[in-house]
């Protein structure tokens, strides 16, 4: 009787080549990271149950679920607005089964959950020219006044839907943007992001979520 190994794979296993790419120079203008091993759940309030859903979220995560395009950091997860009366819960994958079970229990009756942990790939764009690179494939206005830390948006890149939100600035003082892209598109979008960044110099890497 053979043992069946269930090795996991990243959708960027071929596309992501760690290290420096594009223009040379002391510092890369753009830093790209794939953030691996996440739990991602879409929470959609049931008909007329938006309020209950909010209470449940508060109970589990200790924060109000975002009612407008924002990313809110809760106790054990980040809650990202993903549409009217719905949001995406994202957390590092620790014990997946119990993470999902806990949510299923709290939201029972108030919201429908959809596990998208494998349906999306999380790409983080940072560095001094990160914003300039994003401007080549996103029509969003990412100016500090228009898109401050904590802002989120559902938008389109290359005609496919993407969730984008801004977290606290990096150690270098430059903005940090997170992009959730559909798994099957991620190989393609990664290439688009890299192509848009080459003229600034790119540092690419991959790491577990923490």
């Amino acid at each position: 009787m053979v043992d069946y190994l269930w090795n996991t794979q990243s959708p960027l296993q071929k596309a992501l080549v760690p290290g420096r790419h594009g223009a040379a120079g002391a510092h890369a203008g753009v830093t790209l990271n794939e953030v691996r091993d996440i739990v991602l759940v879409q929470v959609m309030a049931r008909r007329g149950k938006a309020a209950e859903t909010g209470k449940a979220a508060k109970k589990l995560f200790g924060v109000e679920a975002p009612a407008t395009p924002k990313a809110v950091i809760g106790k054990t997860a980040t809650l990202i607005w993903s549409g009217p009366d719905q949001f995406t819960v994202i957390a590092p994958r620790t014990d997946e089964a119990s993470q999902l079970a806990a949510m299923a229990q709290v939201f029972a009756g108030s919201a429908s959950l959809s596990d998208q942990s494998d349906g999306r790939c999380l790409i983080r764009v940072s560095g001094p020219r990160g914003r300039d690179a994003i401007a080549k494939f996103s029509s969003l206005d990412l100016h500090d006044l228009a898109f401050p830390v904590g802002a989120a948006a559902n938008t389109s890149v290359d005609h496919t839907a993407v969730n984008l939100w801004r977290e606290a600035n990096g150690a270098d003082g430059h903005p940090v943007y997170n992009m959730l892209v559909f798994t099957s598109f991620s190989d393609s979008l990664w290439h688009t992001i890299v192509d848009s960044s080459l003229e600034y110099g790119v540092e690419a890497a991959s790491a577990r979520a923490a």
């Binding site: 993903s82 549409g83 009217p84 559902n154 938008t155 005609h159």
Partner: protein, 102 residues
């Protein structure tokens, strides 16, 4: 063209898909109500095919599929392309439509 999604804010029209005139309403009919099939067919023919196709402001359906996946109802001028309003469809998100008598 830019469309002000009531949930996401102003966005490029590439994020939206267009359906068309929002005025025709899908006829309601009860199967076995004895309504003449011809009559029901006429009502659906009107709903599916006939359009006012106004030059000026019209109410129309846009789907923010490249964004928050909401169906929206916009008032847009077909001559100037100016939007007067963009509102959410009655069943967007978890909204509970007001039933008659409520």
């Amino acid at each position: 063209m830019r469309i002000a999604c009531p949930f996401c804010g102003e966005r490029e029209n590439g994020e939206f898909t267009y359906l068309g005139d929002a005025s025709p309403k899908r006829p309601n009919f009860a199967v076995d109500s004895g309504e003449s099939p011809g009559g029901v067919e006429d009502a659906f023919y009107d709903y599916v095919y006939l359009r006012d196709n106004v030059a000026g402001y019209m109410r129309e359906y846009w789907y923010h599929g490249g964004g928050c996946r909401s169906w929206l109802i916009a008032e847009r001028n077909t001559v100037t392309h100016e939007f007067r309003s963009v509102t959410a469809a009655p069943g967007v998100g978890a909204a509970k439509p007001v039933q008659a008598g409520e």
